[in-house]
Amino acid sequence: MATRGYRAGDEHHPDRIYRCVGSLTIARAATTERELDLMPDGMTIDLSGVDRMDTVGAWLVYRAVRDRGAKVEGASHEVHGLLEQVRQADKPVRVVPEEEGIGFKRTVSELGEYVVEAGQVFYGLLNFFGATLLGFWNVFKRPQQRFRLNAVVQRFDLVGVRALGIIGLMSFLIGIVIGQQGAVQLRQFGAEIYTINLIGRITVRELGTLMTAIMVAGRSGSAFAAQLGTMKLTEEIDAMRTIGVSPIEALVIPRMIAAVIMMPLLSFYSMIVTIIGGGIYCWIDLGIPPLTFVQRIQEVTPITDLWVGLVKAPVFGFVIGLVGCFQGMLVEGDAEQVGLKTTAAVVQAIFLVIVIDAIFAVFFSSVGWI
């Protein structure tokens, strides 16, 4: 324990002596620092009572000597050694990297950086899109050697089959919610029967595909980014390149094919399950028997609605696969990047899906499929 106090025979300057007793270690560092701060400059530090000292204790003493002209007394051989140790290691180090500029200037410069970065990402995405198309062309030209059937089938399983459970559950619940919300509103006009129209058309035309796309982006788009990102960190992709295997052909194309083919199938499945959910609600709450429900659905939902829904699905699948793989390939440096790029893959995929959905909506209404 370090104490500060008087020493016999020094009545004239009693407060100028800081006497340490016991151990002067990191455990006492906070107190010792405070006590030393209270001492006047040019104090004398008496270390004769110290039986244990570590480098932190030595640093505190050394700092007092360096900055405040303190004198050290009674230091043992070991203590001298430690003081010499920290003296040699006295090289100030910055803890965090220097930040450039302040205030308004920094805001503007950061904004500029973001814009440039966004432009670069978009340019990179176009680049990657082109590389993927070229990859598809290469595979198409020589399917015997270049087409990796096993990888594609494995992705079918991961992207499609394993998603059936969660997409089914989600769709079923959404069917019930649409039915219930529709019935509550339409009942005010005595038009509950139109709940069937609502369920049929909104599901087949919009929601089935859109909800499936969001689920696939969250499940598989993120997985693509994380898998490729991790493979990049562990230099697997570099190894692949040097062996002469194109990562686009071996990794990206199977995932893209899986996403493009599975999206329409999953969307159709989602539509059917949503209609079943809505049908069960109508049966229980509105007393519409299932057979009547199915007949009405057939009558009120034009077949063009199904085309509208299904045409979009492979496009969404392509976008989800493309963005997922692209973000994965962008990973560089450390593990944090994998997380960042995975998040970016999901956010960008869902955003692009909604933008493309809006474009499709305008297009289909102008060709008269309303």
């Binding site: 990191i26 560092a29 906070a30 480098t55 932190v56 430690l82 140790q85 090289k91 180090v93 803890v95």
Partner: protein, 265 residues
């Protein structure tokens, strides 16, 4: 005779392992250690060698509590380590530092912040003092001052090891665990690292538990060498003492072309 893996009665050991058994796989069929005994003396640099798969890293993980052994007793600083409450174990963990094989630096923090992590965890110091402590630890680990604000992904392999060492030294430990510190370093960097460990041991009064494959390191800095084979520590001693044994693995290890080259150096 010091070929025995345990110290004579009465001599105090920093690490004391008795009857350790570790096994993996379904129903623990793959036995890595069985009836393993080992003592580490205070103030020594103990090198631990053994072929790949003999469980050098598993042994270290058992001592530091990352792997719960199936059977056996492990004492560090005289305290039993198995089945401890987290709070009690913390007081022991404070007294050792560990350099993992790949550095295991926290990738979202700078080197200096990495060094401050253990200090922050245990003590409330002023930010200024903490930054100063990080600075001199970084210098002691032989890093240039401009390494402080760098992130781990910006460092070379040798610098990562030094940064890991600086973090291991953050709390002025009495005991230092090093898992293959010179693996992946060029010979000059490895030699410098050896010298650094030796000088730190002398200056800071450390006990060092050193896992290595590097024969030069063994010859240059280890006081004693423990040989892991046949699921236990078959011998502990100076290299001369080990050479006198006729264990086939030890003979092959130290008398192979690399072993002879390291001995000649």
């Amino acid at each position: 005779m010091s070929i025995s893996s345990t110290l004579p009665e009465g001599e105090k050991a920093v690490i004391c392992i008795r009857g350790l058994r570790n096994a993996f796989g379904d129903e623990n069929v793959q036995v890595v250690h069985n009836q393993l005994d080992l003592d580490v003396r205070k103030g020594e640099i103990l090198g631990v060698v053994g072929g790949s798969g003999t469980g050098k890293s598993v042994l270290m993980r058992s001592i530091i509590g990352l792997q719960t052994p199936e059977q056996g007793e492990i004492r560090v600083f005289g305290e039993n380590m198995i089945g401890r409450e987290e709070d009690e174990a913390k007081n022991i963990r404070r007294r050792w530092g560990i350099l993992f094989q790949a550095g295991a630096l926290f990738s979202t923090l700078t080197v200096a912040e990495n060094v401050e992590v253990p200090i922050r965890e245990y003590f409330h110091l002023s930010p200024k003092l903490m930054d100063e402590i990080a600075s001199y630890k970084i210098a002691m680990a032989g890093l240039p001052p401009d390494a402080g604000p760098k992130y781990p992904s910006e460092l070379s392999g040798g610098m990562v090891k030094r940064a890991g060492l600086a973090r291991a030294l953050a709390l002025d430990p009495e005991l230092l665990f090093l898992d293959e510190p010179t693996a992946g370093l060029d010979p000059i960097a490895a030699q410098n690292f050896d010298e650094l460990i030796l000088s730190l041991r002398d200056k800071l009064d450390l006990t060092v538990f050193l896992i290595t494959h590097d024969l030069d390191t063994l010859y240059a800095i280890c006081d004693r060498v423990a040989v892991l084979a046949d699921q236990k520590v078959v011998a502990v001693g100076t290299i001369e003492q080990l050479l006198a044994l006729d264990h086939p693995w030890i003979q092959e290890y130290f008398n192979g072309p690399r072993g002879r080259a390291a001995a000649a150096a």
